[in-house]
């Protein structure tokens, strides 16, 4: 990089730092107490803020220039350069050993690491499945769903209530949860068939809120904000087990469900309905003109996504043995959507990576304790600015037609 370029960046970063310091000054420096009528001044914060934002702005501008230059080069050459990550996943020589290693590591995990770590991993795996489920609705079919967590709540409460009132076990409720999820998916799907884009987004958001508010307020049915406690853990042929063993057991259940989901979604993607979804995402009218039943494709997408979320709800209730409406806020929906978009819409590998990143990052950033959500928000912005297509770009299957046999 040329020297004058650096100077230009330093100059812009200085301006940005002064601007940000000015912007944040009142909130960072002044703290008022309107009852005692006192004001505290914390001038040191201003200095931290200015220094910090200068460094960040400098890095930001340099990265932004590199990004734009990279884009220009790409346009000039005309071929898309894949990231090293994507190439690694595509190389058949690497894929098999990597998968084998991943599998062995996943199976061995609870025996090597502590219960705490296993627990975190179970949560991450739940979000992998949730991400893959939402990926069907948003990534493949292009239906922006901001109330996805409602289906998660449906599953969790299905298990919690059936267990509380009728003593039904985990394995009995698991398929019932799936059916409930599909039902609610259709219930939401029917009225919103005519809506598109952002209208769909806000209606699904409203739907998510309605489910949560009903759970919160209809105390006779759902026990209100205090929730339902003492839900049974999954049964193991009637063999009793300790809490530590329960974690391991649920971990293996989740591992099985994750592999099943990965298999199903990967197969679905290239199936007839999967291709119909992609067509729907690209252009609804053209898709209809090609003879695809739009209504059916949309309802399938909603129902399938909802089924996976509901299944995870059942597992979640069994894992924590406690559910209350506070676990199903809009932030959860936003988080799952972020998993899908950050990972790379429509890409199975991307969604898995996204789930691990977003779930494990806040967990291991506990060292920064109160700053972790701040850093988390910043990370989301940075990834989107520098990788707007997500970590792993989705690849479409290419069908080769042999010209001779096709005539």
């Amino acid at each position: 990089m040329a020297a004058e370029n650096i100077f230009a960046h330093v100059k812009r970063a200085l301006i940005a730092a002064v601007w940000l310091a000015f912007l944040t000054a009142p909130i960072m420096v002044i703290r008022v107490d309107t009852v005692e009528k006192t004001v505290t001044w914390r001038w040191m914060h201003l200095a931290y803020m200015a220094a910090g934002s200068f460094l960040l702005a400098l890095v930001w501008y340099i990265m932004l220039e590199r990004r734009d230059r990279g884009k220009a080069n790409k346009d000039a050459e005309g071929n898309v350069k894949e990231s090293a990550l994507a190439r690694g996943f595509a190389d058949p020589k690497l894929v098999k050993p990597m998968l084998a290693f991943g599998f062995v590591a996943a199976v061995a995990f609870p025996w090597i690491f502590s219960m705490y770590q296993t627990n975190i991993l179970v949560s991450a795996l739940i979000y992998v499945v949730l991400g893959l489920g939402l990926n069907i609705t948003v990534g493949l079919a292009g239906l922006l769903d901001l109330g996805y967590v409602a289906f998660y709540a449906v599953g969790a409460y299905t298990y919690a209530l059936l267990n509380h009132h009728f003593d039904l076990g985990f394995w009995t409720v698991l398929p019932m949860g799936a059916i409930m999820g599909a039902f609610f998916g259709l219930l939401l799907g029917f009225p919103v068939l005519r809506l598109r884009g952002d209208y769909l987004a806000i209606v699904t958001l409203g739907f998510g809120q309605i489910i949560r508010l009903v759970l919160e307020n209809w105390s006779d049915f759902s026990f209100g904000p205090s929730g339902i406690a003492n839900i049974d853990r999954p049964g193991l042929f009637g063999i009793p087990y300790s809490v530590e063993q329960a974690t391991t057991y649920i971990y293996y259940i989740m591992l099985g469900l994750v592999m099943l989901t990965i298999f199903v979604t990967a197969r679905l993607k290239d199936s007839r309905i999967g291709r119909a979804w992609l067509a729907l995402r690209e252009d609804e009218i053209a898709c209809q003109a090609m003879g695809i039943d739009n209504t059916r494709a949309k309802l399938m997408a909603f129902a399938l996504g909802a089924t996976l979320a509901s299944l995870m709800g059942v597992v979640f209730a069994a894992k924590t043995t406690f559910v209350n409406p506070a676990s199903f806020t809009f932030m959860e929906s936003a988080m799952i959507l972020a998993i899908v978009v950050l990972g790379g819409m429509g890409s199975v590998v991307g969604v898995i990576l996204g789930a691990f990143l977003l779930m494990l990052l806040p967990e291991y950033m506990r060292a920064f304790s109160e700053y972790r959500m701040l850093l988390f928000g910043a990370t989301m912005i940075v990834i989107m600015v520098f990788m707007p297509k997500g970590l792993v770009r989705a690849k479409r299957k290419i069908y080769k037609i042999n010209a001779e046999t096709a005539g």
Binding site: W19, L20, L23, T24, P26, I27, M28, I30, R31, V32, D33, T34, V35, K37, V39, L64, V138, L144, P191, V192, R194, L195, D198, Y199, A201, I202, V203, L205, G206, F207, Q209, I210, L213, N217, D283, E284, I285, A286, A289, F330, A334, L337, A338, V341, L342, M345, E370, Y371, M373, L374, F376, G377, A378, T379, M380, I381, M384, V385, P388, K389
Partner: protein
């Protein structure tokens, strides 16, 4: 009758504040088709700026009404600056990116701003001083209309009229309308689109700040998450009226305010938010483009 009027006016004042925030959503959406999730946070920052100014000036012993005016002015200026900066950081680098990318960076920005306020100020509720004094001649209406309600309604009305005039008659307003209709075409006829987008964010954020200070002094306390629910409600109002339409946002805000107020008054106060969202779902099923939105034919 008195009860009805009471609900009517409280719905009106609540609806006006929703409308103020909804205008920011709808203007931004009209121009760059982005749900600006950080908008609710701008409203919250507006309320905090108001609190800081009010706190400092109260400690210095200024009269209440002048504090109110200065608090609104300062918080409008600062919120406008925040809106401008948020756009430059989180949305401008993403022009031309896939549609959902700016949405995610907006959610990131919303989390960032919330936590910034939480760390820099406090995670707890802070009491907000009453800046609107009770006026004497309002005494006989006090059964159904408080001074602060009246003040909120009048201020919102003035701001909205000013905004309409601005959009209709100024050069920048014209450029905004042109950009909303067709961004490329506007560029071709020499509209500085970047400037228009910045101006939209600045105006939307100022309106949200006015709403923030007014509602904070009405309710009497604020904390760092108030922006979230207000943002969602206001966005609902914007969609209800037809997103992208300025009179639609105002109408949507008022309809939402009245629905909530009457439903809580006559039916049940537990389900306040449920009514709002049910109304939204119902209206969108029968009028998919919102109350005042135009149903445009899709080009193939």
């Amino acid at each position: 009758m008195e009860y009805f009027l009471q609900l009517f006016f409280s719905g009106l004042s609540r609806g006006s504040v929703y409308a103020l925030i909804a205008l920011g959503y709808t203007m931004v959406y009209g121009i760059i088709e982005l749900i600006n999730f950080a908008h609710g946070e701008i409203y919250m920052i507006g309320a905090f700026m108001g609190l800081i100014v009010a706190g400092v000036l109260t400690a210095m012993g200024w009269p209440v009404l002048s504090i109110l005016v200065i608090a609104i002015i300062v918080s409008v200026l600062y919120s406008a600056a925040y809106g401008y900066t948020v756009e430059k950081i989180a949305y401008k680098p993403l022009r031309g990116a896939p549609r959902l990318a700016p949405l995610i960076s907006a959610i990131g920005m919303s989390i960032l701003l919330q936590n910034y306020i939480m760390l820099a100020q406090t995670p707890d509720f802070l009491p907000f001083p009453r800046l609107i004094p009770d006026l004497d001649f309002m005494e006989r209406f006090s059964m159904f209309l408080g001074t602060s309600d009246l003040f909120i309604i009048v201020t919102s009305l003035v701001v909205m009229v000013a905004l309409t005039l601005f959009i209709k008659f100024t050069r920048m307003g014209k450029a905004m309308r042109a950009t909303a209709q067709n961004r490329k075409m506007a560029m071709l006829v020499g509209v500085n689109v970047d400037q228009v987008i910045s101006a939209t964010f600045v105006i939307g954020s100022s309106l949200a700040a006015v709403g923030g200070v007014l509602i904070a002094t009405h309710v009497g306390q604020i904390n760092f998450v108030i922006g979230f629910l207000a943002g969602i409600k206001a966005f609902t109002a914007a969609v209800l009226g037809g997103i992208g339409s300025i009179p639609g946002a105002v109408l949507g805000g008022l309809v939402l305010g009245w629905t909530e107020s009457f439903a809580t008054g006559y039916v049940s106060s537990d389900y306040e938010d449920v009514f709002a969202f049910c109304l939204l779902v119902l209206i969108l099923i029968f009028r998919p483009a919102g109350l005042l939105g135009k149903q445009r034919a899709q080009k193939v």
